[in-house]
Amino acid sequence: MKIHVKYFGQVAEAVGKTEEVLDLEKGTNLQDFKTRQVRAYRIPDPHSVQIAVNQDLMEEKDLEEGDEIAFLPPFAGG
């Protein structure tokens, strides 16, 4: 299944891109996917990185076709 992945701030800097489309095994778990990306791209300080799925912050989810997964470093608005 295809998912869209977005990277922001220092995560985008570490990953070297701001988005990509990945083809995952059906039913991949969100935390497993995060761990995989953190290792693959050596994303620093992974505990501070929150994940949004389809624009909502989530910790647990079985990913689905077409999901938009965003890697969000600490917020710095205002």
């Binding site: 977005k6 922001f8 701030g9 220092q10 949004a52 624009q55 965003a70 969000l72 470093p73 600490p74 917020f75 710095a76 608005g77 205002g78």
Partner: protein, 147 residues
């Protein structure tokens, strides 16, 4: 019936002081208002390990951020008896001394306007996916984190 489209919060670059004057002037016909509370965030020339910040470059997960801004604004309206609430936040580069955040609340009474403004500022800092790259005078950078 079509749902009213939420007003956009993000503006490109610094928020000019005239925008704030215009916001105030636009409220002079609303004679049920007794108090406005305004918060402005300004870029500080912080010195970190001998280097001085000259600008912050703001980026955001824009679609989610506009959605969260809208939710925060709705939450403030359900919690406080406000007449209006306006939020503007910069995207892109904002130099030291320039304004990057404007929160503007109005109410019949001062306590409501002040509390609603504080609520919005704290919620924005905590919940909106905005990222800030602090650019130093030597063009190196570090990433800002809200405390």
């Amino acid at each position: 019936m079509e749902k009213k489209k939420p007003k956009k919060v993000f503006v490109s670059g610094a928020i000019p002081p005239e925008k704030i004057a215009n916001s105030i002037a636009n409220h002079q016909s609303k004679t049920e208002i007794g108090a406005h509370s305004i918060f402005l965030g300004q870029i500080r020339a912080d010195e970190i390990e001998g280097k001085t910040v000259k600008a912050i470059n703001y980026s955001a997960y824009e679609e989610m951020a506009e959605k969260v801004f809208h939710e925060i604004r709705e939450a403030a309206f359900s919690r406080f008896d406000m007449t209006c609430a306006h939020i503007y936040h910069s995207l892109g580069e904002v130099k030291t001394g320039e304004i990057c955040l404007l929160v503007f609340t109005s109410s019949a009474h001062r306590k409501t306007a002040i509390e609603a403004c504080n609520f919005l500022v704290e919620e924005i800092k905590a919940k909106v996916p905005v990222f800030g790259k602090e650019i130093f005078e030597d063009e190196t950078h570090q990433w800002k984190v809200n405390r």
